[in-house]
Amino acid sequence: MESTKKVFHVMYDDDGTVLTAAKQLVAKGIHITDVYSPFPIHGIDPVIGVTRTRLAITSFMYAMTGTSLALLGMWYFMIQDWPMNIGGKPSFSLIENLPAFVPVMFEFTVLCGAHGMAITYLLRNGTLPGMPASNPDPRTTDDKFVLEILTDENEMDAAGIEAAVNETELLEISIKDYAA
């Protein structure tokens, strides 16, 4: 028996065309699962209903973790474990020596914020080095753009989606069965 679950991969050769096509399809009530593109397409996120990224919030949390860790480290190394005479001011007090620790805290904040954000991004996208590629067509890493539409996520049946997709300026279309 033929499966009714189908996945559409519709290929375009221009970012402007893919944006227009996405708008046309969304206007007909079709839900687009994802867009594969070699570069970010300005303005596509609200069209296909991608919510705003929370990556900036994670970055802030990583950065604050970095600040705290650096402060804790400086306190332990320079005040607690082996008290240091800093700049001829042997006060051995964290608050009085704080200016000397600010550059370290700043650098560690940036380090943790940037690396934490980059690693989170790669993990979330499944694009860490060595991870298997998940894009439907290797040409989307070069100069082609692919819209992915699943019948599972749409009210419209496969024939209706195919008809709607064929009205856009597409380059190629691939329709496959898949097991849910």
């Binding site: 900036a56 700049g87 600010v102």
Partner: protein, 418 residues
């Protein structure tokens, strides 16, 4: 073609007159009630306000030239606001020149190095001063070796030459930019635009040097024995961010009155990013100057901070640093806060006062020492200058189309979106 002009009238105009009235009252009553020697309190306050509001105008001229020199498109719809703001340059320069002239004629003693007796090692029998030992001469008790060694730079002739060149250059470029900008409205084309592009680059070269040296001459020379290499950049970042704060609040107000419809959310987001970014630049330079002096702990360098951190100025000095750094950092870090006037306006008001306090603490601890007071005279003058600045800015804003008619980047600027 939509060429709606700003109309300066009604409550806003009345308010600027009220503020200027308060300022005038404060100046007169302040001068009459000021019992400090040589009206030191009066002149110090004039320098604080003169420099603070001059730097708003100068920051606008710099930012304006920066937009041209970098061929920036986004800011084309905003350029008339910056033009209006640098219209205050002659007034600010006038206030500073008044203070410097009074100092030159020894009406006050803000600039210790202006005392000519400091430079001579010997005092002759007849009471005159000499560099050479002579019969009957004694050691000059006023002789100050450190200041005498700075005589090649800090002397009346060279000082006045520099001051006149700075102000002359700024006023000349401000006048030319405004003239060409208005001419562009009439003739169009790109010829004037490219002319302004080239002249802006020339201006920035002068500004790069003068912004540092004017801070040394007018502000840093108050603490004559002390010097800091990055003092000029620190005061420059302060003038830049104060100017951006004023421009941002002014834009929000004008938009709420229905003007500047071409200025969209993205422009305001950009302005907020500038306020945020230059606040961080200011904090970075403030802290860089402090850290090196604190760490090396050399007596001739720490005097500046001793006078500010271990005296009555401790709370405002440390408080204004945290205000100007932490408030914009934590509040304006989020994208939504930058786009929301409910966050932007309170932050702008707070750090505007914070940067005024910064300028106040550049001048006052070195001139009034432990005799400083902060009363009606100080805040009245601050408000008076604010009223004058707003009045001059808005009057000039009303005198030309709000949106430049023939700027080559106009369409690009109107379409700014991200």
């Amino acid at each position: 073609m939509d060429t709606m002009n700003f109309r300066f009238e009604g409550r806003a105009k009345t308010l600027t007159y009220v503020l200027m009235g308060i300022g005038l009252l404060a100046l007169v009553s302040g001068f009459l009630t000021d019992d400090s020697h040589g009206h030191q309190r009066f002149w110090a306050n004039m320098l604080v306000n003169g420099f603070f509001y001059f730097s708003l105008a100068l920051g606008a001229l710099f930012f304006y030239a920066l937009q041209y020199a970098t061929e920036s498109g986004w800011s084309a719809v905003l350029k008339r606001l910056f033009e209006a703001m640098y219209g205050f340059l002659p007034f600010g320069a006038g206030a500073i020149l008044l203070v410097l002239l009074a100092g030159q004629f020894h009406l006050h003693h803000l600039y210790h190095w202006m005392d000519q007796t400091l430079y001579f090692e010997y005092m002759l029998a007849d009471g005159s001063y000499s560099h050479e030992m002579a019969e009957g001469a004694i050691d000059n008790p006023n002789f100050d070796k450190i200041i005498a060694n700075k005589g090649a730079y800090l002397n009346g002739t060279f000082f006045w030459l520099r001051t006149v060149v700075y102000i002359g250059t700024f006023l000349l470029f401000a006048r030319l930019f405004r003239k060409w900008s208005l001419a562009e409205d009439e003739v169009g084309g790109t010829e004037l635009h490219y002319k302004m592009y080239r002249r802006s680059a020339v201006f920035l070269v002068f500004f790069a040097v003068f912004s540092s040296t004017l801070a040394w001459d007018w502000i840093m020379s108050i603490d004559t024995h002390w010097f800091s290499t990055l003092f000029g950049w620190y005061t420059f970042s302060g003038m830049w961010v104060s100017m951006l704060i004023f421009a941002t609040v002014c834009l929000l107000w004008l938009r709420s009155k229905g003007y500047f419809k071409e200025v969209n959310e993205s422009h305001m987001h950009d302005m907020a990013k500038w306020v945020f970014g230059i606040s961080m630049l200011w904090s970075y330079l403030w802290f860089s100057q402090f850290l090196l002096i604190w760490y090396s702990n050399i007596p001739e360098e720490v005097t500046y901070y001793i006078a500010r951190m271990f005296t009555q100025y401790k709370v405002p000095f440390i408080g204004m640093f945290f205000l100007n750094f932490a408030v914009p950092f934590y509040v304006l870090l989020a994208r939504d806060a930058k786009r929301n006037p409910k966050f932007l306006i309170p932050v702008c008001f707070l750090i505007f006062l914070g940067h005024y306090t910064d300028v106040y603490l550049l001048v006052v601890p070195g001139t009034l020492h432990d005799h400083a007071q902060f009363g009606f005279f100080e805040w009245g003058t601050f408000l008076g200058f604010l009223g004058l600045f707003i009045h001059v800015t808005l009057r000039r804003l009303a005198s030309a189309p709000l949106i430049p008619v023939n700027h080559p980047f106009l369409e690009e600027s109107k379409a700014l979106h991200y």
